[in-house]
């Protein structure tokens, strides 16, 4: 295992290349610029193409064009830029275009700030763009996990013909950790007979129409039903979650991304004080691992759950839906890019215990 100390953004970019991504379209925005910078150097070396688009809108529509042409393609941005991309994300979902979108979340709303945040949870998992669609959303909590999820993200995008989002906070993009890149010189690319590549009327595939417009109600219903069925399969097969120390716990923390790591540190602090606390960490935010979250929190002996977020109470809604009222679920979080400390989290649990 060859470890390399890498910045998160660079590791993500290299992992995408190892997963067979050969096209990247993006627009600069802090704190994810290391991704396009890295891609601009590396993609030509592997016969790919990096293009700096004139806007986020153009970038996601280039992704639509390249994904529709059968390529493994990616774009990345940070919160305000992801807002701009929503038109294209909705289009790609409707047109069933596989692609990977990285969001290195920064503070919002509006221009917010450039520090790490988790304020885009709702946008990522509840829509963002218009219409009935879902995005598969992965929320890694370390650089190694991000690297490991990249091939999965591209495979899932291709398998289900859907955009996939990597939702990370800016800290994961900017920090450095040792990573094993698991070099893969020959990634398996599935055939895409539906793609626009130039059509031979005498050939054996149908003419490609990459489209999100279904003006007849009945036709749109067919699409929506097809997506609905596909999303049901994704919900069955693609949920990912980590549970940590949950058995016999008195309280359950629920968090994702960087904050989940801080929660683990809090679990240890509390352990030293004789308080058994567990953590349930969704790795897919959609499909949300409701069963695992429910089972961890509904256990006998668990008094309550606490979600910890770098946002003003977003994840907590899905956790409450998952437990459906069987246990109290409290929220602790700081918006505006304030990262809760392990000591703060431990203190909050101790307060809950005293109450």
């Amino acid at each position: 295992m060859a470890l390399k100390l890498m910045k998160g953004c660079e590791a993500i970019a290299e992992a995408a290349i190892q997963a067979g991504c050969r096209y990247f379209f993006g627009y600069p925005i802090t704190p994810q610029n290391d991704i396009p910078e890295y891609m601009s150097l590396r993609l030509p070396q592997v016969g790919g193409c990096f293009l700096q688009a004139e806007s986020e809108l153009a970038a996601i529509n280039m992704v639509y064009g390249a994904g529709g042409a059968g390529a493994r393609v990616m774009t990345s941005s940070s919160s305000p830029g992801i807002s701009l991309k929503q038109e294209g994300i909705s289009t790609c979902c409707a047109a069933e275009i596989p692609c990977v979108i990285v969001n290195m979340m920064r503070g919002g709303p509006g221009l917010g700030n450039i520090q790490a945040s988790q304020g885009d949870y709702f946008q990522a998992v509840k829509g963002g763009g218009h219409g009935d669609y879902r995005l598969v959303v992965y929320a890694p909590s370390s650089i190694q996990e991000t690297v490991d999820l990249m091939p999965k993200a591209f495979d899932v995008a291709d398998e289900y013909r859907t955009p996939v989002m990597i939702l990370a906070d800016g800290l994961i993009g900017q920090m450095m950790e040792p990573v094993d890149l698991k070099l893969n010189p020959d990634p398996v690319m599935p055939p895409k007979p539906w793609a626009a590549t130039g059509w031979d009327p005498k050939g054996d595939r149908e003419r490609a129409v990459i489209n999100s417009l279904y003006i007849e109600t009945e036709d749109l219903d067919v699409l929506i039903d097809r997506l609905h069925e596909r999303y049901a399969v994704i919900e069955q097969k693609e949920k990912m979650v980590e549970t940590y120390n949950t058995e016999g716990a008195e309280y359950i923390l629920c968090a994702y991304g960087t904050v989940a790591r801080v929660c683990k540190a809090a679990v240890r602090i509390l352990e030293e004080q004789g308080v058994k606390v567990g953590l349930v960490r969704p790795i897919t935010l959609w499909p949300f691992p409701s069963e695992a979250v429910h089972d961890a929190i509904a256990q006998d002996g668990v008094k309550a759950a606490l979600t910890v977020e770098m946002s003003d109470g977003q994840l907590v809604e899905d956790v409450r839906l998952a437990v459906n009222g069987c246990k109290p679920v409290e929220f602790m979080g700081k918006a505006g890019s304030q990262i809760p400390t392990a000591e703060d989290i431990a203190e909050r649990i101790l307060n809950m215990r005293r109450a």
Binding site: Q174, T258, R261, S337, A342
Partner: protein
């Protein structure tokens, strides 16, 4: 072993590099490590800082709120972070540029005239390596030669001629601790 360090100074003093070299050397010696650049409110005020953790165990939170060692290259950094250091921890002060002493008596303070030693070595740019050497002289968490190996990887073979100067800087820094 767990080292939770904050390196801080003006932009341009090489504090981010100091942290990266320590993290890379830690990795090369089989330790778990994380490097996190300035974040949150700590970003304000024109200082650059990074947090570096080294541990024999996998690292949960990469955020350093209570450092075991604070390495400061300028006075605003000392003022900003002094109170955060754990009791019994260490503060490494660049005494060339910081004209005050550590005010706490429950921490170990080390005064390293980084810029003066760098001038003696004939290159102002190695003041950060002198400071890193001082830290390593105390913490002894990675070998100086591993740090140089990490530096060589960073510089590339073309700049290998800079290694002896940097070795000298690391050793002079370490000598300040003894």
């Amino acid at each position: 072993m767990v080292e939770r360090n904050i390196f801080a100074g003006f932009g341009g003093q090489g504090v981010l590099l100091m942290g990266q070299l320590l993290a890379a050397a830690g990795m090369m010696e089989g330790k778990h490590t994380t490097w996190v650049p300035s974040y949150g409110p700590e970003m304000r005020g024109g200082t650059a800082n990074c947090s570096v953790m080294l541990s024999d165990e996998p690292i949960d939170s990469p955020l350093v709120t209570r450092p075991t060692s604070l390495i400061v290259m300028n006075r605003p950094s000392l003022e900003k972070f002094e109170s955060k250091v754990v009791p019994g921890g260490s503060i490494f002060v660049n005494s060339s540029l910081i004209d005050v002493k550590v005010s706490r008596d429950d921490v170990n303070a080390y005064y390293v005239p980084c810029n003066e030693i760098a001038a003696e070595l004939g290159n102002d740019k190695v003041s950060n390596m002198i400071m890193l050497g001082a830290y390593l002289g105390k913490a002894k968490c990675v070998d100086v030669e591993t740090v140089l190996e990490a530096l060589l990887e960073k510089l590339g073979a073309k700049k290998a001629k800079l290694i002896p100067l940097n070795r000298e800087a690391l050793l002079r820094g370490a000598a300040c601790i003894e």
